[in-house]
Symmetry: C2
Subunit: 152 residues, 2 copies
DNA sequence: CCCTATTCATTGGCAACGCCAACATTGGCA
DNA sequence: TGCCAATGTTGGCGTTGCCAATGAATAGGG
């Protein structure tokens, strides 16, 4: 978003969904910039991080664990594989599946991206003291947990 | 995002930018659904709300006050004008400009959208008690203020 | 064992938001 | 007067989150 030359309309300034989407936009900009410096996007990081945590997995499983749609997994893995950060391997026990492995280079890249992201977090939270940071994380986590686990 | 069948990768669950963008995604989904029931999108609401607050304004001014790019203003106003919620009028004192007015129907539509949005806020904040809600708004407002006013 | 339903990877498409470049017209200022 | 800035407009791009359809392969029930 452009920098408003005048304050945001008053109504919105206390509308939680507005505050959330706006701060998220700033956060996304910081993250995009941080990752972009290493030729990566959010999806790239999320897949590498998921792979490092869960170990080798099928693309469908990667999607379920990372929250990325299967179709988007394909394109992202193509990028990562092109850069040798990841390897696709047919599953001998189920020929529908690819087993995806993170490579040593992929782990190194993940470390690099992680550092870039950590820096971005600091920039993002700059105006908050440690107590407020924890409080923010707590509140957002409450919201996320609630909306991620539909009662139905 | 799809509902993860397994918990989100641990790293991300305490990453503020992740929590922000994810909760913002949920918030955006609620808002989109609420506005969609009235054939509106976020840009439509934002422009109507801005017009109601500032009174008639040029498109460039609308962009600056609402934080919407000039080019996106054009398309959004086209939609609103097609539905007679807004009127474009040439500025007699500056032939480059259009003076945009909100119509009575536009004000009624804004009221409707506002109600829909208020309901969405409640759904969004359901898991938080009033104290936590105020705290969340306070923290997000701090972040937004900080990142909206570049020191440079 | 066979048929059906499901799963998988993949392709291709869509919507919303944020943003940028270019253009012609018009205004303001030096 | 001459040049720069602002305005509306068109057209385009990238990221994220989705959905539908397809062909191959597997799993499950009868």
């Amino acid at each position: 978003m452009e920098h408003p030359s005048a304050p945001t309309p008053g109504r919105l300034r206390t509308t939680p969904s507005w505050l959330l989407t706006q701060t998220a936009t700033h956060a996304a900009r910081l993250v995009t910039t941080a990752l972009g410096a290493h030729h990566a996007r959010g999806y790239h990081y999320r897949l590498l991080a998921t792979l490092a945590e869960t170990g080798p997995a099928s693309q469908a499983d990667l999607g379920r664990h990372s929250g990325i749609d299967r179709s988007d997994i394909v394109a992202t893995l193509n990028d990562l594989a092109d850069r040798h950060l990841v390897r696709r391997q047919p599953d001998p026990t189920d020929r529908r599946r690819n087993i995806v492995h993170i490579t040593p280079a992929g782990r190194r890249e993940l470390t690099t991206l992680q550092h870039a992201l950590d820096t971005a977090q600091d920039t993002l939270l700059a105006p908050l003291d440690p107590t407020d940071r924890r409080e923010l994380v707590r509140l957002l986590d409450l919201l996320l947990t609630h909306h991620n686990e539909p009662k139905g």
